[in-house]
Amino acid sequence: MHPPPARARRRRPRAFRASVPSLIMTAILCLLVLPPLVMLFRTSLVNYEDASAPYSLINYVKLIEDPLLYISTFNSVFFAAGATVVSLLIGATVAWIVERTNAPFKWLAYVTTIVSLGTPAILYVSAWIFLLGRAGPVNQLWKEITGSFQPLVNVYSIPGMMLVEGLLWVPLVFLLCGATFKRQNADLEEAARMSGGSVFDTVWRVSLPLAKPALYGLAIFIFIRNIEAFDVPVLLGTPGGIKLLTSDIYLSMTRVPPDLGHSSAFAIVMILFVSALLYLYGRVSANADRFASVTGKGFRPRPFDLGRYRWIGGFVIILNFLLVLALPVLAVLWNSVTPFVRGFSLKAFSTLTLENYVHVLTDSYYLQLALNTVFVAAISATVAIAVTAVAAWLSVRKWPASGPLNQLASLPIIFPGIVLGVAMIQLALRTPFGLYGSIWLIAIAFIIRYLPYGMRYAQPAVMQIHRELEEAANVSGASQPGTFRRIVLPLTAPALLAGWLFIFLVAAKELSIAVLLAGSRSKTVAVAMFDQWTNGQAGEVAALGIIWTIAMSCCAALMMALSRNDMKSQGTL
């Protein structure tokens, strides 16, 4: 209708100056994220048997010809699927009961989650090995009751691994599902009840279908995490002779001499596999919000009245507490006060001792471990949050040239921990300044690994700030850096702090990267537990685990409190 003016679009020199911050961030992120990928790819093309040979696909050929790849892949997928079902069934059920009904004991579910978030996975695994082991209390009880000589369960089997791994992820599923259920509009359920639906009808026909897209997305996400799982495959699979993708990579790296070509090719295959899954995840979760019931101000979900089924809800929460928290922690506690590994019996009570605790608390070796761990976890959380806060701000506000920032910061999500470990070793071997075996190497690897997590917290936090709040500062005379410091940072602080604590917690218990990178002086608590467990020092592991869990649970509690406040304030900002 109106002809556009001829000179409508003109590039101005201004555009370049404004894109400088984004270009700097892009450079930083590239420097962090790309080298591992490039290095991995390069090594996978090197023929280690013939150093003079040119780059070739020989490692891939060997990999594909080896039937082991298919066995491991099948095992990994089967294991991951089973574990996903376990964690989703338990986690989603408990989340629904806690968030949407009037069942009793809800606080118990939160306690379970908080303590679990702070506990290294290896501790759980060792507890379940004790509980379900051949001489463990479960099998003992079974033998005594039935008089049979066959144990009831074999924890060193794929079903056993599924169970343990599944229980490991229940707390996270609980948290993420809880967020979904919380957003559901109670009106929809009440409408179904008013139309004559029973509680079961309502859940089956309304609540579940509404949550379905989100649940699918979550299932894929947990599946990916399980494919990448390290602790259970190595601790349960390897002794049981069950080969999985991650344990294969680990074994070929710890063999003497390490088979770099093989593990790199393996790692690249795994990255491709995970990327395909992530693509699927992106497709599914893009649709997840389609059904999300929009919440306005003052929206408060009303709990569902379960009527006489209330006690069932309470029972499920208690069961979750027992399985996910109480039983493993009791097992660890028991191990920590017995002088040597033994089954649970009344006789053993007379021999109980606090010696392990005394040892852990007085030996400077353990102090060093704790310091190392806190140091790497704090450094990686700080850097990851700082980088992603700026990157998220630039990208949410669509600064010139900020396009690739989000993708770059999210890229490391395709690295399973063990794969990143392999890549970082190769990088460290090529850097001159003694990075190999130092604590800084672990810190850098953690920063890379947790950039996507940081982005996950920082981006919504920035989006939540009404744009005019920043523009008002600009118009008032503040420069862009001033606006970031005085307006954006204070307003995103609660979310960023929660993100910091989350990264701190997962970094503090991360094993799969650290186990490959740690030198003798740069061990973290999780690595030390792993070493001691494999050396049979179960008692000290347990004592260390209990002390560590208490400390980390305090951090986890703080994080949950901050995240909750943040969710509450979303409505008012």
């Binding site: 003016p5 009404h466 118009v475 008032s476 005085r486």
Partner: protein, 386 residues
């Protein structure tokens, strides 16, 4: 700097957004105006017509495509020369539609912010305190300094936003629909308050609204914008009584339109005769020049029409149409009728002393000088002449 003596010159400023298919997707077509110091200038138009875009271009939040913009002697933007003063150096006060009160600061800190971030002013803590107190007193919020900004009512938040905008004595004040978030009663109150404040400070103000009552009551000059183009610019009386075309007449308040044709060109401010499409002729007033070939919309506001029983005599002379009452509604001070004339429904407001039943035949009587002959659609010629 003295805010009293700054003339704002906007010359051919334009900013267009483009859709993916390279067609214009909103924005503002070239707009020009010059504001004497202290003018209250209003951008009025329907939602999405480009008011906020214009304001953001002035503030520097948006980079215009072309044009020139200067305040006092300072050129803020010049598309030809490529000059561009960054927005934080422009010393413009702005009140955002959402108020944009920072929730992590107290009222005092919110208002003090523009003073604190301008290091070059080298203000002492005491000076800042004085200026903030003065600004808060001006808007009637003295004593609220230590309140958290989130504990304020909508009206109070709006005042804080205003105090923040005026605290450093800006050369220009921009207000983007500052009253749209308030309830009707408060809106009325704040309207007067705002106008009083503006006169008291004497600051050139640009006000954005889509409420024509607000615009009429507050402004010295109104620019009516439609789909990115200025339809008319003038004083409230001018825009209301002598609308440039049917769009402006309609936007400035409810009115009836009848399509008509001319038999001769008409100069501005003349009286003439038009033939309605239904065949009747009317005596109308042409506030602006129109050509013989133009389609004409005859505009009569509902309150200038008098109803009388069909066939009664009409001592004052003037226009007469005959129709049938379709419906009526009692609204307290007036009675509202819908009358069917030919195929058209005409709205009429009457004092409720006489009543006409639905179905009764009535005469509609109206004076030629209140019957406006307007261009049916926009005409660039008329817009530019304003």
């Amino acid at each position: 700097m003295d805010s009293q003596n700054l003339t704002l010159v906007v010359d051919g400023l334009s900013k267009l957004y483009w859709t993916k298919s390279r067609t214009p997707g909103g924005g503002i077509q070239p707009i020009s105006f010059t504001l004497e110091p202290g003018t209250f200038f209003t951008l009025l138009g329907p939602s999405g017509c480009g008011k906020t875009t214009t304001l953001r271009c002035l503030a520097g939040l948006e980079h215009p495509d072309v044009g020139r913009l200067s305040l006092g002697g300072t050129t803020f933007f010049d598309g030809e020369a490529g000059d561009h003063v960054p927005l934080n150096k422009r010393n413009i006060g702005m009140v955002f539609q959402s108020y944009a009160i920072w929730p992590h600061m107290t009222v005092f800190e919110n208002v003090a912010f523009p003073l604190r971030v301008r290091k070059e002013l080298k203000l002492s803590g005491e000076e800042i305190r004085q200026m903030v107190t003065q600004a808060l007193t001006t808007v009637g919020l003295a004593g609220y300094e230590s309140r958290s900004a989130t504990q304020l009512s909508g009206g109070q938040q709006q005042r804080v936003a205003l105090a923040r905008a005026i605290v450093r004595k800006p050369g220009l004040l921009l207000l983007d629909e500052p009253l749209s978030n308030l309830d009707a009663r408060l809106r009325d109150e704040m309207r007067n308050e705002l106008k009083r404040l503006q006169k008291q400070i004497g600051i050139t103000t640009i006000y954005v609204t889509h409420d024509q009552v607000e615009a009429l009551e507050m402004s010295d000059v109104i620019a009516v914008i439609n789909a990115g183009q200025v339809e008319q610019m003038g004083s409230p009386r001018d825009v209301y009584d002598r609308p440039a075309n049917a769009f402006v007449a309609n936007f400035m308040g409810a009115t009836n339109f009848l399509s008509a044709r001319l038999s001769a060109d008409q100069p501005a401010d003349s009286r003439g005769t038009v033939a309605l499409d239904t065949g009747e002729t009317l005596d109308v007033w042409f506030p602006h020049a129109v050509r013989r070939t133009d389609r004409i919309a005859v505009s009569m506001r509902p309150d200038v029409i008098r109803l009388a029983a069909a066939g009664s005599d009409n001592p004052e002379g003037g226009n007469r149409l005959t129709g049938t009452v379709v419906s009526s509604g009692f609204m307290g001070n007036i009675e509202r009728y819908s009358v069917k004339v030919g195929d058209e429904i005409i709205q009429v407001h009457q004092a409720p002393d006489a009543h006409f039943d639905s179905g009764s035949r009535v005469d509609l009587l109206f004076r030629p000088e209140r019957t406006l002959g307007l261009l049916e659609n926009r005409a660039e010629v008329v817009g530019a002449a304003a």
